[in-house]
Amino acid sequence: MIELRNVSFIYSDDGPFETKALNDISLKIEDNGFYGLIGHTGSGKTTLVQLIAGLVKPSSGEILIDGVNIAEKKFKMRDMPQRIGLVFQYPEYQLFEETVFDDVAFGPRNMGCDEAEVRRRVTEALQTVGIKEKYYKASPFELSGGQKRRVAIAGTISMEPPVLILDEPAAGLDPHGRESILQKITKLQKDRKITVILVSHSMEDIARTAEKVIVLNKGKLEMLGTTREVFAKGERLSEMGLSIPEISRVVLGLRERGINIREDVLTVDEAAEEILKLAAEKGLIK
Protein backbone atom coordinates (compact mmCIF):
# COMPACT_ATOMS: atom_id res chain seq x y z
CA MET A 1 0.00 0.00 0.00
CA ILE A 2 1.09 3.53 -0.74
CA GLU A 3 0.23 6.25 1.70
CA LEU A 4 0.92 9.97 1.42
CA ARG A 5 0.76 12.13 4.53
CA ASN A 6 0.65 15.90 4.20
CA VAL A 7 2.92 15.90 1.19
CA SER A 8 3.90 19.25 -0.30
CA PHE A 9 6.29 19.95 -3.11
CA ILE A 10 7.79 23.26 -4.19
CA TYR A 11 9.74 23.68 -7.40
CA SER A 12 12.83 25.83 -7.37
CA ASP A 13 12.96 26.84 -3.72
CA ASP A 14 13.20 30.59 -3.19
CA GLY A 15 13.50 31.24 -6.92
CA PRO A 16 11.58 33.90 -8.76
CA PHE A 17 9.61 31.18 -10.47
CA GLU A 18 8.70 29.38 -7.29
CA THR A 19 5.66 27.14 -7.71
CA LYS A 20 3.90 25.18 -5.07
CA ALA A 21 3.21 22.19 -7.26
CA LEU A 22 1.63 20.09 -4.52
CA ASN A 23 -0.02 21.35 -1.39
CA ASP A 24 -0.65 19.17 1.65
CA ILE A 25 -1.72 15.98 -0.06
CA SER A 26 -2.83 13.01 2.01
CA LEU A 27 -4.15 9.88 0.36
CA LYS A 28 -3.99 6.12 0.34
CA ILE A 29 -3.56 3.84 -2.62
CA GLU A 30 -4.67 0.28 -1.98
CA ASP A 31 -2.96 -2.74 -3.48
CA ASN A 32 -4.32 -4.25 -6.71
CA GLY A 33 -6.41 -1.19 -7.48
CA PHE A 34 -6.74 0.58 -10.80
CA TYR A 35 -6.54 4.29 -10.12
CA GLY A 36 -7.14 7.13 -12.49
CA LEU A 37 -5.39 10.43 -11.82
CA ILE A 38 -6.97 13.47 -13.38
CA GLY A 39 -6.56 17.21 -13.13
CA HIS A 40 -6.25 20.29 -15.26
CA THR A 41 -2.90 20.88 -16.93
CA GLY A 42 -0.38 22.06 -14.33
CA SER A 43 -2.38 20.63 -11.45
CA GLY A 44 0.58 18.55 -10.29
CA LYS A 45 -0.13 15.08 -11.64
CA THR A 46 3.33 14.46 -13.01
CA THR A 47 4.91 15.82 -9.85
CA LEU A 48 2.78 13.52 -7.73
CA VAL A 49 3.68 10.38 -9.62
CA GLN A 50 7.38 11.25 -9.57
CA LEU A 51 7.17 11.61 -5.81
CA ILE A 52 5.50 8.24 -5.45
CA ALA A 53 8.16 6.65 -7.64
CA GLY A 54 10.82 8.08 -5.34
CA LEU A 55 12.48 10.16 -8.07
CA VAL A 56 12.12 13.40 -6.17
CA LYS A 57 11.78 14.05 -2.47
CA PRO A 58 8.88 16.08 -1.15
CA SER A 59 9.52 19.48 0.44
CA SER A 60 7.54 18.23 3.43
CA GLY A 61 5.41 15.27 4.40
CA GLU A 62 5.78 11.50 4.36
CA ILE A 63 5.43 8.94 1.62
CA LEU A 64 4.98 5.45 2.98
CA ILE A 65 5.38 2.47 0.71
CA ASP A 66 4.45 -0.66 2.60
CA GLY A 67 5.19 1.29 5.75
CA VAL A 68 8.64 2.53 4.70
CA ASN A 69 9.02 6.28 4.49
CA ILE A 70 10.78 6.98 1.21
CA ALA A 71 10.64 10.72 1.78
CA GLU A 72 13.42 10.56 4.33
CA LYS A 73 16.68 12.21 3.34
CA LYS A 74 18.80 9.17 3.97
CA PHE A 75 16.53 6.81 2.07
CA LYS A 76 18.10 5.49 -1.12
CA MET A 77 16.25 4.34 -4.21
CA ARG A 78 17.90 0.94 -4.19
CA ASP A 79 16.35 0.15 -0.80
CA MET A 80 12.85 0.62 -2.19
CA PRO A 81 10.62 -2.03 -0.57
CA GLN A 82 8.93 -2.77 -3.86
CA ARG A 83 9.72 -1.43 -7.26
CA ILE A 84 7.46 1.23 -8.58
CA GLY A 85 7.43 1.34 -12.34
CA LEU A 86 6.89 4.77 -13.80
CA VAL A 87 6.28 5.33 -17.48
CA PHE A 88 6.92 8.98 -18.24
CA GLN A 89 4.97 11.31 -20.45
CA TYR A 90 6.30 10.73 -23.98
CA PRO A 91 8.49 7.81 -22.88
CA GLU A 92 9.72 7.21 -26.42
CA TYR A 93 12.28 9.96 -25.87
CA GLN A 94 14.23 7.78 -23.45
CA LEU A 95 14.96 4.97 -25.90
CA PHE A 96 18.69 4.64 -26.44
CA GLU A 97 19.81 1.08 -27.12
CA GLU A 98 20.80 -0.39 -30.45
CA THR A 99 17.95 -2.85 -30.58
CA VAL A 100 14.43 -2.99 -29.26
CA PHE A 101 15.30 -6.07 -27.27
CA ASP A 102 18.26 -4.46 -25.52
CA ASP A 103 16.29 -1.36 -24.69
CA VAL A 104 13.56 -3.33 -22.99
CA ALA A 105 16.24 -5.41 -21.27
CA PHE A 106 17.83 -2.32 -19.71
CA GLY A 107 15.61 -2.40 -16.62
CA PRO A 108 15.85 -6.13 -15.85
CA ARG A 109 19.63 -6.03 -16.39
CA ASN A 110 19.93 -3.15 -13.96
CA MET A 111 17.99 -5.26 -11.49
CA GLY A 112 20.62 -7.96 -11.82
CA CYS A 113 18.52 -10.62 -13.56
CA ASP A 114 20.47 -13.36 -15.35
CA GLU A 115 20.26 -13.57 -19.15
CA ALA A 116 17.64 -16.34 -19.21
CA GLU A 117 15.40 -14.32 -16.90
CA VAL A 118 16.05 -11.17 -18.92
CA ARG A 119 15.01 -12.98 -22.09
CA ARG A 120 11.80 -14.24 -20.48
CA ARG A 121 10.86 -10.84 -19.13
CA VAL A 122 11.64 -8.95 -22.31
CA THR A 123 9.72 -11.40 -24.48
CA GLU A 124 6.74 -11.28 -22.17
CA ALA A 125 6.77 -7.49 -21.92
CA LEU A 126 7.01 -7.06 -25.66
CA GLN A 127 4.20 -9.56 -26.17
CA THR A 128 2.09 -7.71 -23.64
CA VAL A 129 2.37 -4.46 -25.55
CA GLY A 130 1.94 -6.22 -28.88
CA ILE A 131 5.34 -5.82 -30.51
CA LYS A 132 6.00 -8.63 -32.95
CA GLU A 133 9.13 -10.73 -32.78
CA LYS A 134 10.47 -9.46 -36.09
CA TYR A 135 11.09 -6.09 -34.48
CA TYR A 136 13.19 -7.41 -31.59
CA LYS A 137 16.44 -6.86 -33.45
CA ALA A 138 15.38 -3.59 -35.08
CA SER A 139 16.69 -0.24 -33.94
CA PRO A 140 14.11 1.49 -31.76
CA PHE A 141 14.65 4.64 -33.79
CA GLU A 142 13.32 2.98 -36.95
CA LEU A 143 9.90 2.32 -35.45
CA SER A 144 6.77 4.40 -35.84
CA GLY A 145 5.74 6.75 -33.05
CA GLY A 146 3.14 4.34 -31.67
CA GLN A 147 5.54 1.41 -31.77
CA LYS A 148 8.21 3.44 -29.98
CA ARG A 149 5.72 4.26 -27.30
CA ARG A 150 4.91 0.58 -26.83
CA VAL A 151 8.56 -0.40 -26.66
CA ALA A 152 9.13 2.29 -24.05
CA ILE A 153 6.20 1.04 -22.01
CA ALA A 154 7.53 -2.49 -22.32
CA GLY A 155 10.81 -1.16 -20.92
CA THR A 156 9.03 -0.55 -17.65
CA ILE A 157 6.72 -3.56 -17.71
CA SER A 158 9.73 -5.85 -18.12
CA MET A 159 10.81 -4.88 -14.61
CA GLU A 160 7.56 -6.48 -13.43
CA PRO A 161 6.81 -3.83 -10.86
CA PRO A 162 3.96 -4.50 -8.44
CA VAL A 163 2.95 -0.88 -8.90
CA LEU A 164 2.81 0.53 -12.40
CA ILE A 165 2.29 4.24 -12.97
CA LEU A 166 1.67 5.57 -16.46
CA ASP A 167 1.77 9.29 -17.18
CA GLU A 168 -0.53 9.81 -20.14
CA PRO A 169 0.52 6.67 -21.98
CA ALA A 170 -1.96 7.29 -24.78
CA ALA A 171 -1.26 10.98 -25.41
CA GLY A 172 -0.74 11.76 -29.07
CA LEU A 173 -1.69 8.32 -30.35
CA ASP A 174 -4.35 7.54 -32.93
CA PRO A 175 -7.68 6.18 -31.61
CA HIS A 176 -6.76 2.62 -32.42
CA GLY A 177 -3.37 2.88 -30.69
CA ARG A 178 -5.03 4.49 -27.67
CA GLU A 179 -7.57 1.79 -27.36
CA SER A 180 -5.10 -1.02 -27.73
CA ILE A 181 -2.61 0.37 -25.20
CA LEU A 182 -5.32 0.90 -22.61
CA GLN A 183 -6.71 -2.56 -23.15
CA LYS A 184 -3.28 -4.06 -22.68
CA ILE A 185 -2.74 -2.17 -19.46
CA THR A 186 -6.12 -3.23 -18.12
CA LYS A 187 -5.41 -6.83 -18.97
CA LEU A 188 -1.98 -6.67 -17.36
CA GLN A 189 -3.47 -5.25 -14.20
CA LYS A 190 -6.05 -8.07 -14.02
CA ASP A 191 -3.65 -10.89 -14.91
CA ARG A 192 -0.78 -9.89 -12.69
CA LYS A 193 -2.89 -8.37 -9.92
CA ILE A 194 -0.79 -5.23 -9.82
CA THR A 195 -1.64 -1.68 -8.79
CA VAL A 196 -1.98 0.74 -11.69
CA ILE A 197 -2.12 4.51 -11.56
CA LEU A 198 -3.13 5.98 -14.88
CA VAL A 199 -2.71 9.69 -15.52
CA SER A 200 -4.92 10.88 -18.33
CA HIS A 201 -6.67 13.89 -19.76
CA SER A 202 -9.29 11.73 -21.37
CA MET A 203 -12.28 11.22 -19.11
CA GLU A 204 -13.48 8.48 -21.43
CA ASP A 205 -10.29 6.51 -20.94
CA ILE A 206 -10.49 6.92 -17.19
CA ALA A 207 -14.17 5.95 -17.09
CA ARG A 208 -13.45 2.84 -19.08
CA THR A 209 -10.47 1.61 -17.10
CA ALA A 210 -10.22 2.98 -13.58
CA GLU A 211 -11.96 1.70 -10.48
CA LYS A 212 -11.07 4.75 -8.44
CA VAL A 213 -10.25 8.28 -9.41
CA ILE A 214 -7.95 10.84 -7.79
CA VAL A 215 -8.68 14.44 -8.74
CA LEU A 216 -6.04 17.13 -8.34
CA ASN A 217 -6.78 20.82 -8.60
CA LYS A 218 -4.03 23.43 -8.42
CA GLY A 219 -1.81 21.16 -6.37
CA LYS A 220 -4.52 20.12 -3.95
CA LEU A 221 -6.31 16.83 -3.58
CA GLU A 222 -9.86 17.61 -4.61
CA MET A 223 -11.51 14.20 -4.64
CA LEU A 224 -10.71 10.55 -4.24
CA GLY A 225 -13.48 8.07 -4.79
CA THR A 226 -14.85 5.39 -7.02
CA THR A 227 -15.13 6.34 -10.65
CA ARG A 228 -18.92 6.57 -10.41
CA GLU A 229 -18.79 8.79 -7.33
CA VAL A 230 -16.33 11.18 -8.92
CA PHE A 231 -18.06 11.48 -12.27
CA ALA A 232 -21.38 12.02 -10.52
CA LYS A 233 -19.99 15.42 -9.53
CA GLY A 234 -19.97 16.87 -13.01
CA GLU A 235 -20.44 20.42 -11.89
CA ARG A 236 -17.51 20.51 -9.53
CA LEU A 237 -15.34 18.89 -12.14
CA SER A 238 -16.23 21.49 -14.72
CA GLU A 239 -15.41 24.26 -12.26
CA MET A 240 -11.90 22.82 -12.22
CA GLY A 241 -11.72 22.82 -16.00
CA LEU A 242 -12.40 19.10 -16.20
CA SER A 243 -15.38 17.33 -17.61
CA ILE A 244 -17.22 14.07 -17.35
CA PRO A 245 -17.20 11.46 -20.09
CA GLU A 246 -19.26 12.54 -23.08
CA ILE A 247 -21.61 9.64 -22.76
CA SER A 248 -22.36 10.61 -19.15
CA ARG A 249 -23.32 14.05 -20.45
CA VAL A 250 -25.62 12.47 -22.99
CA VAL A 251 -27.30 10.49 -20.24
CA LEU A 252 -27.67 13.59 -18.06
CA GLY A 253 -29.21 15.39 -21.04
CA LEU A 254 -31.71 12.58 -21.46
CA ARG A 255 -32.62 12.78 -17.81
CA GLU A 256 -33.16 16.53 -18.07
CA ARG A 257 -35.62 15.81 -20.85
CA GLY A 258 -37.59 13.57 -18.53
CA ILE A 259 -36.27 10.21 -19.59
CA ASN A 260 -35.75 8.12 -16.52
CA ILE A 261 -32.38 6.54 -17.26
CA ARG A 262 -29.81 5.50 -14.64
CA GLU A 263 -27.60 8.52 -14.00
CA ASP A 264 -24.21 7.01 -13.20
CA VAL A 265 -23.56 5.60 -16.64
CA LEU A 266 -19.89 5.78 -17.60
CA THR A 267 -19.27 3.98 -20.85
CA VAL A 268 -20.93 3.79 -24.23
CA ASP A 269 -21.64 0.09 -23.76
CA GLU A 270 -23.38 0.72 -20.46
CA ALA A 271 -25.41 3.54 -21.97
CA ALA A 272 -26.44 1.39 -24.92
CA GLU A 273 -27.60 -1.32 -22.57
CA GLU A 274 -29.62 1.10 -20.45
CA ILE A 275 -31.21 2.77 -23.45
CA LEU A 276 -32.17 -0.59 -24.97
CA LYS A 277 -33.64 -1.66 -21.65
CA LEU A 278 -35.74 1.52 -21.50
CA ALA A 279 -36.83 1.15 -25.10
CA ALA A 280 -37.88 -2.43 -24.44
CA GLU A 281 -39.86 -1.34 -21.36
CA LYS A 282 -41.73 1.18 -23.46
CA GLY A 283 -42.38 -1.42 -26.08
CA LEU A 284 -40.42 0.43 -28.75
CA ILE A 285 -38.37 -2.65 -29.52
CA LYS A 286 -38.72 -6.27 -28.67
Partner: protein
Protein backbone atom coordinates in the same frame (compact mmCIF):
# COMPACT_ATOMS: atom_id res chain seq x y z
CA UNK B 1 22.13 19.34 -9.12
CA UNK B 2 21.36 19.93 -12.78
CA UNK B 3 18.86 22.56 -11.73
CA UNK B 4 21.55 24.68 -10.11
CA UNK B 5 22.88 25.68 -13.46
CA UNK B 6 21.40 29.09 -14.00
CA UNK B 7 23.61 29.96 -16.94
CA UNK B 8 21.66 31.53 -19.76
CA UNK B 9 18.63 32.12 -17.63
CA UNK B 10 16.90 35.47 -17.78
CA UNK B 11 15.03 36.91 -14.83
CA UNK B 12 12.60 39.47 -16.16
CA UNK B 13 12.52 42.74 -14.29
CA UNK B 14 12.45 46.46 -14.63
CA UNK B 15 15.50 47.58 -12.68
CA UNK B 16 18.01 50.17 -13.90
CA UNK B 17 20.30 47.36 -14.93
CA UNK B 18 17.52 45.64 -16.86
CA UNK B 19 16.79 48.87 -18.70
CA UNK B 20 20.35 49.53 -19.83
CA UNK B 21 21.01 49.15 -23.53
CA UNK B 22 22.33 45.63 -24.19
CA UNK B 23 25.32 47.00 -26.12
CA UNK B 24 26.32 49.02 -23.11
CA UNK B 25 25.91 46.00 -20.88
CA UNK B 26 28.04 43.83 -23.15
CA UNK B 27 30.77 46.48 -23.32
CA UNK B 28 30.58 46.90 -19.57
CA UNK B 29 30.91 43.15 -19.05
CA UNK B 30 33.97 43.02 -21.29
CA UNK B 31 35.49 45.94 -19.52
CA UNK B 32 34.71 44.34 -16.17
CA UNK B 33 36.39 41.08 -17.19
CA UNK B 34 39.48 42.67 -18.71
CA UNK B 35 40.00 44.97 -15.79
CA UNK B 36 39.51 42.07 -13.41
CA UNK B 37 42.68 40.48 -14.75
CA UNK B 38 44.69 43.53 -13.78
CA UNK B 39 43.48 43.43 -10.23
CA UNK B 40 46.07 41.67 -8.13
CA UNK B 41 45.86 42.91 -4.60
CA UNK B 42 43.44 42.74 -1.74
CA UNK B 43 42.25 46.33 -2.00
CA UNK B 44 41.64 46.04 -5.71
CA UNK B 45 39.40 43.06 -5.06
CA UNK B 46 37.64 44.94 -2.33
CA UNK B 47 36.79 47.65 -4.85
CA UNK B 48 35.52 44.99 -7.21
CA UNK B 49 33.45 43.20 -4.59
CA UNK B 50 31.81 46.42 -3.48
CA UNK B 51 31.15 47.43 -7.06
CA UNK B 52 29.65 44.02 -7.89
CA UNK B 53 27.55 44.07 -4.74
CA UNK B 54 26.11 47.46 -5.70
CA UNK B 55 25.25 46.19 -9.17
CA UNK B 56 23.58 43.07 -7.75
CA UNK B 57 21.61 45.34 -5.45
CA UNK B 58 20.52 47.44 -8.40
CA UNK B 59 19.30 44.42 -10.39
CA UNK B 60 16.81 43.67 -7.59
CA UNK B 61 17.44 39.97 -8.15
CA UNK B 62 17.85 37.98 -4.94
CA UNK B 63 21.60 37.57 -4.30
CA UNK B 64 20.93 33.96 -3.39
CA UNK B 65 19.93 33.28 -6.98
CA UNK B 66 22.99 34.94 -8.37
CA UNK B 67 25.25 32.93 -6.10
CA UNK B 68 23.45 29.75 -7.03
CA UNK B 69 25.10 30.20 -10.40
CA UNK B 70 28.40 29.56 -8.63
CA UNK B 71 27.51 26.10 -7.46
CA UNK B 72 28.30 24.33 -10.73
CA UNK B 73 31.78 25.91 -10.84
CA UNK B 74 32.47 25.00 -7.24
CA UNK B 75 34.53 22.02 -8.29
CA UNK B 76 36.63 24.14 -10.63
CA UNK B 77 37.02 26.67 -7.87
CA UNK B 78 38.19 24.10 -5.37
CA UNK B 79 40.56 22.58 -7.88
CA UNK B 80 42.08 25.98 -8.68
CA UNK B 81 42.56 26.79 -5.03
CA UNK B 82 44.16 23.46 -4.18
CA UNK B 83 46.50 23.48 -7.15
CA UNK B 84 47.52 27.05 -6.44
CA UNK B 85 48.05 26.53 -2.74
CA UNK B 86 50.46 23.68 -3.32
CA UNK B 87 52.12 24.71 -6.53
CA UNK B 88 52.99 28.30 -5.84
CA UNK B 89 56.41 28.79 -4.33
CA UNK B 90 57.96 31.81 -2.63
CA UNK B 91 57.14 33.59 0.60
CA UNK B 92 57.35 32.08 4.05
CA UNK B 93 56.74 28.38 4.50
CA UNK B 94 53.71 27.74 6.69
CA UNK B 95 53.37 23.96 6.72
CA UNK B 96 55.13 21.05 5.15
CA UNK B 97 53.58 17.62 4.65
CA UNK B 98 56.02 15.48 2.73
CA UNK B 99 56.61 17.02 -0.64
CA UNK B 100 53.71 19.44 -0.27
CA UNK B 101 54.54 22.84 1.07
CA UNK B 102 52.16 25.62 1.81
CA UNK B 103 53.60 29.09 1.61
CA UNK B 104 52.13 32.49 2.31
CA UNK B 105 52.55 33.34 -1.35
CA UNK B 106 50.68 30.18 -2.29
CA UNK B 107 47.76 31.01 -0.05
CA UNK B 108 47.64 34.54 -1.30
CA UNK B 109 47.76 33.52 -4.93
CA UNK B 110 45.08 30.87 -4.45
CA UNK B 111 42.86 33.40 -2.75
CA UNK B 112 43.26 35.85 -5.59
CA UNK B 113 42.50 33.21 -8.20
CA UNK B 114 39.39 32.11 -6.35
CA UNK B 115 38.16 35.68 -6.03
CA UNK B 116 38.81 36.25 -9.69
CA UNK B 117 36.79 33.19 -10.69
CA UNK B 118 33.91 34.07 -8.42
CA UNK B 119 33.75 37.63 -9.69
CA UNK B 120 34.06 36.46 -13.27
CA UNK B 121 31.10 34.11 -13.02
CA UNK B 122 29.02 36.57 -11.02
CA UNK B 123 29.75 39.47 -13.34
CA UNK B 124 28.86 37.58 -16.49
CA UNK B 125 25.76 36.06 -14.93
CA UNK B 126 24.49 39.55 -14.22
CA UNK B 127 24.57 40.21 -17.96
CA UNK B 128 22.46 37.17 -18.89
CA UNK B 129 20.20 37.46 -15.84
CA UNK B 130 19.15 40.99 -16.73
CA UNK B 131 19.15 40.89 -20.53
CA UNK B 132 16.57 38.96 -22.48
CA UNK B 133 18.09 36.68 -25.11
CA UNK B 134 16.61 38.77 -27.90
CA UNK B 135 18.14 41.96 -26.56
CA UNK B 136 21.40 40.15 -26.11
CA UNK B 137 21.54 39.07 -29.73
CA UNK B 138 20.52 42.47 -30.94
CA UNK B 139 23.33 43.91 -28.90
CA UNK B 140 25.89 41.40 -30.14
CA UNK B 141 24.77 41.87 -33.70
CA UNK B 142 25.00 45.63 -33.56
CA UNK B 143 28.40 45.48 -31.92
CA UNK B 144 29.63 43.08 -34.58
CA UNK B 145 28.06 44.99 -37.46
CA UNK B 146 31.23 46.97 -38.30
CA UNK B 147 32.89 43.62 -38.91
CA UNK B 148 30.14 42.62 -41.34
CA UNK B 149 31.80 44.95 -43.85
CA UNK B 150 34.85 42.74 -43.94
CA UNK B 151 32.72 39.64 -44.41
CA UNK B 152 32.08 38.51 -40.85
CA UNK B 153 28.57 37.03 -40.73
CA UNK B 154 27.54 39.19 -37.79
CA UNK B 155 23.87 38.34 -37.96
CA UNK B 156 24.40 34.61 -38.24
CA UNK B 157 26.84 34.61 -35.34
CA UNK B 158 24.47 36.57 -33.17
CA UNK B 159 21.54 34.32 -34.07
CA UNK B 160 23.52 31.19 -33.33
CA UNK B 161 24.61 32.57 -29.99
CA UNK B 162 21.11 33.47 -28.94
CA UNK B 163 19.71 30.14 -29.95
CA UNK B 164 22.49 28.39 -28.06
CA UNK B 165 21.91 30.49 -24.96
CA UNK B 166 18.17 30.20 -25.24
CA UNK B 167 18.32 26.42 -25.31
CA UNK B 168 20.58 25.88 -22.32
CA UNK B 169 17.70 25.84 -19.83
CA UNK B 170 15.58 23.72 -22.15
CA UNK B 171 18.30 21.14 -22.54
CA UNK B 172 18.95 21.11 -18.81
CA UNK B 173 15.26 20.49 -18.22
CA UNK B 174 15.37 17.69 -20.69
CA UNK B 175 18.48 16.18 -19.10
CA UNK B 176 16.72 16.23 -15.78
CA UNK B 177 13.71 14.47 -17.24
CA UNK B 178 15.71 11.81 -19.05
CA UNK B 179 17.81 11.19 -15.95
CA UNK B 180 14.68 10.63 -13.92
CA UNK B 181 13.24 8.35 -16.56
CA UNK B 182 16.34 6.18 -16.67
CA UNK B 183 16.57 6.16 -12.90
CA UNK B 184 13.03 4.83 -12.83
CA UNK B 185 14.36 1.98 -14.97
CA UNK B 186 17.00 1.24 -12.41
CA UNK B 187 19.93 3.14 -13.91
CA UNK B 188 22.51 4.04 -11.29
CA UNK B 189 24.51 7.22 -11.79
CA UNK B 190 25.91 7.53 -8.34
CA UNK B 191 27.95 4.45 -7.58
CA UNK B 192 30.91 2.75 -9.17
CA UNK B 193 34.23 4.02 -10.42
CA UNK B 194 34.75 6.72 -13.02
CA UNK B 195 34.60 4.35 -16.00
CA UNK B 196 31.40 2.78 -14.75
CA UNK B 197 29.88 6.17 -14.21
CA UNK B 198 30.92 7.39 -17.62
CA UNK B 199 29.28 4.32 -19.13
CA UNK B 200 26.15 5.03 -17.12
CA UNK B 201 25.87 8.29 -19.05
CA UNK B 202 25.02 6.59 -22.38
CA UNK B 203 21.33 6.21 -21.56
CA UNK B 204 21.22 9.95 -20.96
CA UNK B 205 23.44 11.23 -23.72
CA UNK B 206 21.92 9.32 -26.62
CA UNK B 207 18.33 10.44 -26.05
CA UNK B 208 19.64 13.93 -25.37
CA UNK B 209 21.54 14.14 -28.64
CA UNK B 210 18.65 12.74 -30.60
CA UNK B 211 16.27 15.24 -29.15
CA UNK B 212 18.72 18.10 -29.63
CA UNK B 213 18.95 17.26 -33.33
CA UNK B 214 15.22 16.89 -33.62
CA UNK B 215 14.72 20.20 -31.90
CA UNK B 216 17.23 21.94 -34.15
CA UNK B 217 15.50 20.51 -37.16
CA UNK B 218 12.09 21.60 -35.97
CA UNK B 219 13.34 25.05 -35.08
CA UNK B 220 14.88 25.49 -38.52
CA UNK B 221 11.61 24.50 -40.17
CA UNK B 222 9.63 26.80 -37.91
CA UNK B 223 11.93 29.69 -38.71
CA UNK B 224 11.68 29.06 -42.42
CA UNK B 225 7.92 28.88 -42.20
CA UNK B 226 7.99 32.35 -40.77
CA UNK B 227 10.07 33.48 -43.72
CA UNK B 228 13.34 33.82 -41.89
CA UNK B 229 16.08 34.19 -44.45
CA UNK B 230 19.03 35.64 -42.62
CA UNK B 231 19.77 39.16 -41.60
CA UNK B 232 19.52 40.86 -44.96
CA UNK B 233 16.77 43.42 -45.17
CA UNK B 234 15.49 42.47 -41.74
CA UNK B 235 14.14 45.35 -39.72
CA UNK B 236 13.58 45.45 -35.99
CA UNK B 237 10.48 45.79 -33.94
CA UNK B 238 12.45 47.16 -31.05
CA UNK B 239 15.09 49.69 -32.03
CA UNK B 240 18.08 49.98 -29.78
CA UNK B 241 18.71 53.49 -28.64
CA UNK B 242 21.41 54.88 -26.41
CA UNK B 243 19.73 56.95 -23.73
CA UNK B 244 20.82 59.14 -20.87
CA UNK B 245 20.92 56.22 -18.45
CA UNK B 246 23.41 54.43 -20.70
CA UNK B 247 25.70 57.45 -20.94
CA UNK B 248 25.60 57.89 -17.19
CA UNK B 249 26.45 54.25 -16.63
CA UNK B 250 29.49 54.61 -18.87
CA UNK B 251 30.75 57.46 -16.74
CA UNK B 252 31.31 54.96 -13.94
CA UNK B 253 33.78 52.98 -16.04
CA UNK B 254 36.68 55.43 -15.66
CA UNK B 255 35.82 55.64 -11.99
CA UNK B 256 36.19 51.90 -11.53
CA UNK B 257 39.39 51.98 -13.55
CA UNK B 258 40.75 54.81 -11.44
CA UNK B 259 39.87 53.03 -8.22
CA UNK B 260 41.57 49.84 -9.33
CA UNK B 261 44.68 51.65 -10.54
CA UNK B 262 44.78 53.67 -7.36
CA UNK B 263 44.87 50.54 -5.19
CA UNK B 264 47.98 49.47 -7.06
CA UNK B 265 49.88 52.58 -6.16
CA UNK B 266 48.50 53.48 -2.78
CA UNK B 267 48.80 50.13 -1.07
Amino acid sequence: MIRDITLGQYFPGNSVIHRLDPRIKIIWTFFYIVLLFFVNNFWGFLVYVVFTAIIIRLTKIKPKLIFRGLRPVLFLLLFTVIVNVFMTGGGDVLFKFGFLTVTTEGLKFAGLMAMRLILLVTGTSILTFTTSPIMLTDGIERLLSPLAKIGVPAHAIAMMMTIAIRFIPTILDETDKIMKAQKARGADFESGNIIKRAKAMTPILIPLFISAFRRADELATAMECRCYHGGEGRTRFKQLKIRKLDIISLLFAPLLLAAVVATKYIF
